[in-house]
Subunit: 387 residues, 2 copies
Amino acid sequence: MSMMIEKNDIHKGLKNIYVTESRICLIDHKKGKIYYFGYDLDVLAEKSSFEEVLYLLLYGRLPSKREFNIFIDKIKSSMRLEEELRNLIQLIPKDVELMEGVRTVISYLGNLNGNGLDMTDKAIRDRAIDLVAKMPSIIAYLYRNRVGEDFLEPREDLSLAGNLLYLLTGNEYDVRDVKGLDMSLILYAEHGMNASTFAATVVASTGSDYYSSIVAGIGALRGPLHGYANTAALEQFIEIGGPENVEKWFEENIASRKRRLMGFGHRLYRIHDPRAKHYKRWLEENMNRFDTESRRVVETAFKLYEVAMNSFLAEKNIYPNCDYWSAQMYYALKLPKEVYTPIFAMSRISGWTAHIMEYIKENVLIRPRAYYIGERDKEFIPLEERE
Amino acid sequence: MSMMIEKNDIHKGLKNIYVTESRICLIDHKKGKIYYFGYDLDVLAEKSSFEEVLYLLLYGRLPSKREFNIFIDKIKSSMRLEEELRNLIQLIPKDVELMEGVRTVISYLGNLNGNGLDMTDKAIRDRAIDLVAKMPSIIAYLYRNRVGEDFLEPREDLSLAGNLLYLLTGNEYDVRDVKGLDMSLILYAEHGMNASTFAATVVASTGSDYYSSIVAGIGALRGPLHGYANTAALEQFIEIGGPENVEKWFEENIASRKRRLMGFGHRLYRIHDPRAKHYKRWLEENMNRFDTESRRVVETAFKLYEVAMNSFLAEKNIYPNCDYWSAQMYYALKLPKEVYTPIFAMSRISGWTAHIMEYIKENVLIRPRAYYIGERDKEFIPLEERE
């Protein structure tokens, strides 16, 4: 190790280091556009469905009508949780952070499904379909176990977004609400080589099984610097309490640089997050249907956005990311904040799976280096002779 | 994305990319030396114990006698598995690959222990001690559940290595056997920024909880390209069947380039793996105590080593790695091959933990890039209009 390296040869965070080529997601930071397998995400968000985007990410192309019908049948036949999974969920302590519960449930689902090292495209697709189909129940049951409510059965007449809403709350939702959550699942499905996708890819690069990779993705998304931005944003709106408090709160907390504004900024964007506008439009179009409580939170967030855009943040090109907006949608849909990140995970499993499948086709074990700066040749004094 | 990058700007596998500075492990590839926090691994393997090396990796220094006694007491008080963990283990299907079972058990242990996001040094150390102390029982119970044998209780009069042997087999072992396995745990404990350590670090970099990181490490070590080398090597010795078959088998399978020789080669070494000699010496010193079956396997491996060292492999500087030798030791210790990788995991948890603690102190979210080579601007035709 006599070779010296320069400080800037250490790529902490791997910023702007390309780890692979990929055909999955194009993020055009200058124009503010995202594409999944070549399709404009703005168009997918409006005209597609989460189920169709899941197909796109698993197969690399859109389905024919016939293929889509078969795909939907597969989803519907996988939605129910077998007895073993229900039993496991009831063993998980009620106060556990939901993402940590999701991690255990998915790991155990892998145990039940067996034959881990079959990593053919077909096996991976089958497992991904089965897993995503089960996620509404997994999330809802973990939440209901926590609050002591009975599990509901998934409904074949509802989409995955519809089942999420139904299984969590037991309520019927307006078609515009289901469409809103469906759009959110589309928008969260894929976003290049982010930290959770990378964690899943590192694990897959060892030749490991599908569930080990997904569980690594869950673990990474569970981190406050990654998948928790929407929950953190919501908590800040609640703390502010109302649009009338925004200016004072911003002055005291953000303008003073005492705290970071949650839901603002993204490593990749120095412009508006291309996904944000879809949420904003949905919130504006549906505001008149929200109850007083939801409207107050959304109005607080809109006012905070306005104040922030007239502050040093805009000068520094720090804009709200999509989590800032999704938090408002989820709140307006009466979803408990505990499920925000698990819903993100349910959507992102599709992107993780696409990257796993792509990476292992031309696999190279991911094994970087750490540059040693520690002590050398320390003398070992046996325990008996040590002070 | 109009910027073009060169093909060699894509660091597939992150070969020779430094992701961080580290004070934990120096691997001197030229001299064939490894150091943990500055201490020569050759000395640690001979004069230390796995428990002491665990302390070293968690605290960055060796303990005083008093500190070590307190540490050992902590380990002893954590060894037994609570009822919930035993119940969970019995829910895991018997035919599941043991590492996938370990993954679920550790994830669930995290659920039981709660308070995930406390990532202070003290919290992480306490969890690591608790987890490593429980690993002999976790591994043994998963294995015994598989083969339908009753669980045994960990013994306070035995070290962690001693408990591993006892809980798995129920037998009493010679002190030289316990010392051999203890040495193996020391040798496997840490090895720089390998794939599983990196997976754990990527997850930790999001601010996630300790168990999410460890579970990612388990998932990566489960991969055949990483932690399975010892099992694969053993399977090859068994396949060969005896030292008298080695030359013919080598000619047909390896010299002909039909197959890869398992347990040979390492991305970092073009010399003998510095850990190998310790295993080789133990095998030579204890050979006369092995039963006929074990001796045949070890003699096969020694003959295979001799043949390989006179082949194109030596010319290409491809030497046996430590897994080639540990497989023989574990076989001679009558350990079932299903537990080889889990034992590796038990040891390496100490290294993962050291890297997690170190990395998050000056944390930068690990978020690389993928270079887009896919299609652009594809026209979206709505499903109803699609063929």
